[in-house]
Symmetry: D2
């Protein structure tokens, strides 16, 4: 699978640069007959739109989604869905002085070394603006998942030193940081104001919880559901660590602490019936909803650790393409923290993984085959 | 890509169950002309062989690798390399009583729900024994990488509460825990002895360092080198978290702390020559050798967090396939910690990712095309 | 997808050389719960076994299939099925004198130029012996297809100048050429005896008919069912042309001759019911059962054109690896015609394509999704 | 790989319906540093543009290619190239009466049965208009191939009963049928005029010749170069048969006739030097430039057999979606023959296959690896 395509059956191919005329995505493999309109996509895109608070870049982008194919009379047709987002506010002139300098913490140097040249305007393909296409695709995946009751919710778990202990979902959209805790959000905003004042930036953590999961999603060995989620999260530019369930904490746990016990809700009335699948749940969820790479029906819980915005105003030592050592001062306003706008990106990527796993799993059993073709 | 195949150009397809007659791997896409013999593979397999200390299962397996294709007169031919490992000590009788019970922390329940049936002998396909095939394949990848100077070294970073602060590579093979610190290894062994006595188990952390990296490996967007490494690591059964470079710590850092400065070793003699690529390094390595998903030439550093062995002697509450709630006591000896035997698995999986990235990158530039076909 | 893997959801990865210790295949993605035993595979392998008549090579191979994984208590488990076939009669010494000479009509020259070296024993990976692994995999695919009533039957349509006009399926297994016409088979045998006497060989044609097809298999655009069948057929070493339905004849036809009319068997009782899918058939089948790349429910008919065996006794002009021009005389007995043993290979490859299309199609509609997950 | 994506390393994902707002393609994996502009693409698109003679549909489409990403300052950047083509003249009203009727020879019926619904305007995704996106992508592939001297040329080999015996490339663009023979072209036009007068249509044959081929392209077993070409050709809607080299004729040939002899142009000066690769050619080319699925350096020759346009004015028996039997008369003007406009589609698809094979082959040998990374 090439660089810009993700998924095996629900595949998305994204394209576009920060300062090109447009960016977009082609979704191939979405089942026919799903109700879909541009509004479904716009609702997701609006959550990552810049310029909505003092903590995001001032770049003005409407991020208007245009569906160019694959939908007819309000329903998907089973053929590729092409979504286009025009770039409006791309003042390339601002970036001219960055053509030669390798910005610390950015992909300028590695793109140059890999490709021998690069589109230096706003980071080109390595710009976070690329994630708009992922979000558009994720909106379609989430719509598909909602049809069988799967719901995803991501939120800010931490910004710098400020962590949310007891997330209250009702709070998420009430503050510009998408933090499920009003008090923590207030402290985080103060902290970010300090960062801005110092010309610096902050990292943070995003958590995503997925409810309504059927059992059986995820493929053994390399296509494990958690492995695909890890790839999906780490493919978001600024993510440097990924956890599933108890995550890093398991390293310090004992088996007796980490194991989740199974519990049969009710013993079957006809214990000898081969067709009766008893309702079995776990009494805890250290595993984060995935065992052996396959969903166990519990909520899936994952966390992505986001590095601080590399574009800071503080002057930095760096080198140019030609090998000169210089001091670089990055001008213009930049997001002091990536986290709030990345919340919906995390949710979108998780949705892409799950939609793909949902389709993949449909061929796992002969009785499914017989159900469809019988 | 289906469940048991990994990679795009250097692809490996593994197969086999814990208690079947054999397991193995088919490697497709390995370049022709690489010196390769069974000894290259055996050296890796011997590192995960059971029964080497009191901290690993007593199962006796020679894990003898047999190359069945793809090598002729000591060199790879460019065609698929098939490697077979016979299972010797598979006493299925021991597992008969586990056919119906869902072991906590194992994939019994999810395999049953996904496939409608399962090979319950020793966990079948979900057994850690499956990783032997990965290690065999990883040995070939590592041999390929060594030809251009890339070296991988994994070791135990932590077991339970015992962490290694300053790894000393010379120590790794001097203790059965593969810990690069004699004193920490001693403490960890005491801790594990306590776990064994209590019928319990411990988690831990594995770190991998990759040196001699060329720049340019990794594909933008979804095929980022760190994204592929994250998938590779999380696809190892017991891994619940993955970090690259500073990992989770970046969430608490400021941009000014996390950014790695670039430094040009020497200014070019002929600054106007377009062909001259100056030597540029980073003065720190918070990024762990990967920027924008592409290798930057620094060492790659990653960590995988391993959960405690789920098979413990302490009686546990669970349910059976038929929906009965029971108390389960798992008999027989099991590894009290997964970490030491997983060290080489982490290294093997990292090697598979890098070998694939190495091949993928060969088509990134027109000048490479002209070099080969010119 | 790499060189030796075929399929997207029902994937097969073959490996092995003509004179290596063994060859085999890994099947990934076969649904769990399919009854499968080695006998199912052996029945297919026996159809391509050498040494069964004077028209096939005298090489003695039992071609005994061994299932090493993926089957438990007589049923597939949903995990990779590894099948191993040991090579018995591989007298490498016979081929020593061919190490340097490029046999006309063979892949010796191209393998050498592609890989820089080659396993010259019996053609190595380019030997027709490689197809044994395809046949083993095809047997599994055919077993899967039979569960929903799809049946495949290939036979010899022509050998040299002798064509079968009206195939009688009952005749196929009554002659060593698998020709569905006793009289044509007799003439073809006489023709082949002449070829043998002259130290020469003959080409021929294989036809395959697939019955019991559901509608809807095949994916639009690049994954068309006929496109996948064409790739599958042309991937068999000696095939130089592929036809679907009327094939090459369509070039000389008019639209009014080539179009197949649709006919509704009965008008619906409740014409306004959206759920009622009327039974519609075609009154002719010029299309060969595929329209727009998707199965239309009619029989699928395809033909593969097979070149004459390149190994002939007549002395031939050729060059050596070192650039010497020589006259080459190939010794030993070779099949005077490839067709009879390739009949089951054609059938196997068609089965692989259909099994994959069957699984792929299961995610084409939201109502299928709801049927499985509802 | 999903339905609308083609290729492994040079991958193209097409999208768009006949009467949607636009159609297009995303090319992923094109090496960085290739000179590319919209003019390169337009030159190809202009060759399939409708409305250029009385033998093509009167639909007016400018087919203007817009590059939206992946090109910077006139060079490819190594990131996805998105190309957009707006639909201008899509008078959907014309098709309203076809919403319910299944046109004979079209994909209306099979799309309905596969997806449960379809975009019936002009055939939606199954329209030949879809091939515009392939042609745009093929133009980029052809540009890449031209950098190493590979040239492709397709032309009309036959229309109905009129065949070209001795193609004269200079004639190809001098007649609207792209026939390399003025006299044959004149006869073919008379024949087509008769077809038009009768409300009928004609089939034909397209031949493609590829020169300047390096040896070594194509992967053994399933990824054979001819297998990929066969898939590519058969994926074009109207193609029903594909031949490589002597194609169907090989079935009637003897080994002594079909085998191509090798000839070393000059014996090496230093026969013992391992690095010296002598110049070896074939003295005939029955194989069509591919042996064992790998290019042998000779010209590649292939033919695609095209069915007659299914849309004819003659009334036809068919059924409706609701199961009514009706007589259908298709109105409006349609191409009386598909061949002339498909010539560039055949060339484009061949270019896509070769570009992919070119990139795939770069990892076949250790000495290539060392050349790039050494």
């Amino acid at each position: 699978m090439n660089q810009s395509t993700f998924g095996t059956r629900f595949t998305v191919s994204t394209w576009g640069e920060s300062h090109g005329p447009a960016l977009g995505v082609v979704i191939d493999g979405c089942p026919a007959g799903l109700d879909l309109c541009e509004g479904d996509i716009q609702a997701y895109l609006d959550r990552r739109k810049p310029g909505q608070s003092r903590f995001t870049t001032a770049r003005k982008e409407e991020d208007r989604a245009e569906i160019l194919s694959g939908v007819f009379e309000g329903k998907t047709t089973g053929t590729p869905i092409s979504i286009l987002i025009r770039n409006k506010d791309h003042r390339s002139a601002d970036y001219g002085n960055l053509a030669a300098a390798y910005r610390p913490g950015h992909a300028d140097f590695t793109f140059d070394r890999k490709f021998g040249l690069r589109d230096y305007r706003g980071g080109g393909r390595s710009s976070a603006r690329e994630t708009a296409a992922r979000v558009a695709a994720g909106a379609v995946a989430a719509k598909l998942l909602s049809q069988i009751g799967v719901q995803l919710q991501a939120y800010t778990k931490a910004i710098g030193p400020v962590w949310v202990k007891n997330p209250d979902p009702a709070q998420i959209t009430l503050n510009p940081l998408y933090m499920p805790d009003a008090e923590a959000a207030a402290r985080a905003q103060s902290f970010l104001d300090e960062c801005i004042a110092a010309g610096d930036s902050s990292g943070g953590v995003i958590e995503c919880r997925i409810t309504g999961m059927p059992t059986g999603l995820g493929e053994p060995v390399f296509g494990k559901l958690d492995a695909c989620l890890a790839q999906a999260m780490m493919s978001i530019g600024a993510v440097k660590a990924v956890e599933i369930g108890d995550g890093i904490a398991v390293a310090g746990m004992k088996g007796s602490e980490d194991n989740d016990a199974f519990f049969a809700i009710q013993e079957p009335e006809q214990p000898d019936s081969p067709d009766q699948e008893p309702l079995i749940v776990k009494t805890s969820n250290h595993a984060g909803g995935i065992m052996g790479g396959i969903s166990d029906g519990s909520d899936i819980i994952l966390r992505a650790y986001i590095k601080p915005t590399p574009s800071i105003s503080i002057p930095q030592q760096t080198a140019t393409r030609e090998g000169k050592n210089i001091e670089l001062q990055i001008k213009g306003r930049h997001d002091p923290v990536i986290v709030p706008r990345a919340v919906v990106v995390v949710e979108a990527m998780a949705a892409l993984v799950l939609a793909d796993a949902l389709l993949m799993n449909m061929t796992s059993r002969m009785d499914y085959i017989r159900q469809i073709y019988g």
